[in-house]
Symmetry: C2
Subunit: 270 residues, 2 copies
């Protein structure tokens, strides 16, 4: 899939989400069935690259996933990382902060979960909630969250300078798609456990959330840590886009297996 | 003790350590004996302020101690915090990084140890080693440690914005004083365990360390997180200065005990 950079937010680019079509599948002109059939090959490629990352033990990869409710974060993790060795890949879900977490700065719990050499860390929600839900639900005054954009950029720049590669994905769905997903959760007894009444309240705040996301995407996409806006109404296409970005990113690191010890040729194991 | 701000490094102030006298006792004109007799009152004041900090559970205090070998970091902690309730005060000593710590950025292990609300954290050595020993012993190339001054300033600014008060102390001793202390360690069987041959090598690098400290003090003293250069040849005076800075800093937070629950008047406990 060529042309993936169309989804990358350039440094300083001003984002208005209604200009980004959550339904588009511009980089693939086959059917849904054909698109789905493409994923296993990408899984295998990602698997091989993760093995190399682990073996070389030099680079660290941090993946941030953000989306509106029902945007498909869990499903993306399941499908994109299918087959990838869980050793060396850690998923961290950041929910409502504990009292101990709240007693520290907002990056405290985040920093602890950043990847070490050879590791991939996937953040299912992240420090961005501290300028999203915190802003929309007024959990902190504007002067507090307003400063956080700069703190986030400095933090991510530091991570990058110290050897971490960062990819951030906003899974972009439409309000209609969310309606469909929420109704499905309510109607399907096996999915009903996922539904919280809070989801409806958050849905009423849709415009405020979209505005908060626009600020995040406009103010925190940097060369060091770019955002990708992934059209996510069609899940098969979303999976292809996220996989391709990760593969391109890992490819660009030009990794290689460590040199074996010397004088191994001719050794016969008895 | 008035005039303590003479030891505070102003933002942007260029520091040359040979202009700072490690022997001076400018703010106290009594004898050593009289100076020592002053400390218990300061201990008690600090103890009361720490109790208030703990009870109010709002502010966080981070104390950074740096010094050349034998500069007196351990001794300062012991004397300044004598009598202070160890609940709510945590000392973190940062030695040679573990493999896991080295697999992460230099602030990773540091951030985990920052204080929570109501707590005091004392760093015995700190993230500053990553621009001191790392620079002097060339453990990382200049382009790596050069970036770290800015990362440190951004990190400390973030901590401050999120509610942490930071005091940083450089315990300033002379090369002669170090000689005296090292010889004492060698000659006194009960102190000999503290001596490492490495100390002599570091002593040969004295000028390089002083230059590295001058850069730290010049580039990372900010309004958010000021450095104090403490004359530390006379230990009794060093203790008075550190205590006074901490007391003044905590006083400036204008803390108060939390409001008790209402309608407690007249209650008789049976």
């Amino acid at each position: 899939m060529d042309g993936i950079e169309r989804y990358r937010v350039r440094t300083g680019q001003i984002i208005r989400l209604d200009e980004w079509d959550p339904d588009e599948t511009a980089l693939f002109d086959g059917s849904k069935k054909e698109g789905k059939a493409l994923l296993p090959a990408l899984n295998q490629r990602l698997e091989a690259l993760q093995e190399l990352l682990w073996a070389q033990h030099t680079h660290k990869l941090l993946i941030v996933l953000q989306a509106m409710d029902t945007g498909g974060k869990d499903s993306t993790i399941r499908h994109v990382f299918e087959g990838v060795n869980p050793q060396g890949v850690k998923v961290h879900s950041f929910g409502v902060p504990t009292p101990e977490e709240l007693a520290h700065d907002f990056l405290w719990r985040i920093h602890q979960c950043t990847p070490g050499s050879g590791e991939i860390a996937i953040f299912n929600r992240s420090h961005y909630e501290d300028v999203l839900v915190v802003r929309v639900h007024e959990l902190a005054p504007p002067q507090v969250w307003e400063r956080r954009y700069a703190h986030i950029n400095a933090f991510e720049q530091m991570l990058t300078d110290e050897g971490t590669t960062i990819c951030k994905f906003f899974l972009h769905i439409s309000k209609d798609e969310q309606k469909k997903q929420l109704q499905e959760r309510l109607d399907d007894p096996s999915k009903r456990w996922k539904f919280r009444k809070q989801d409806l309240e958050d849905r009423r705040l849709w415009p405020a959330y979209q505005a908060a996301y626009e600020d995040v995407l406009t103010r925190t996409s940097t060369d060091a840590a770019p955002w990708y806006i992934v059209p996510a109404n069609r899940r098969w296409y979303r999976n292809l886009v996220v996989s391709q970005v990760l593969i391109d990113t890992l490819d660009s690191l030009r990794m290689h297996y460590p040199q074996p010890e010397e004088d191994l040729a001719g050794i016969v194991v008895e």
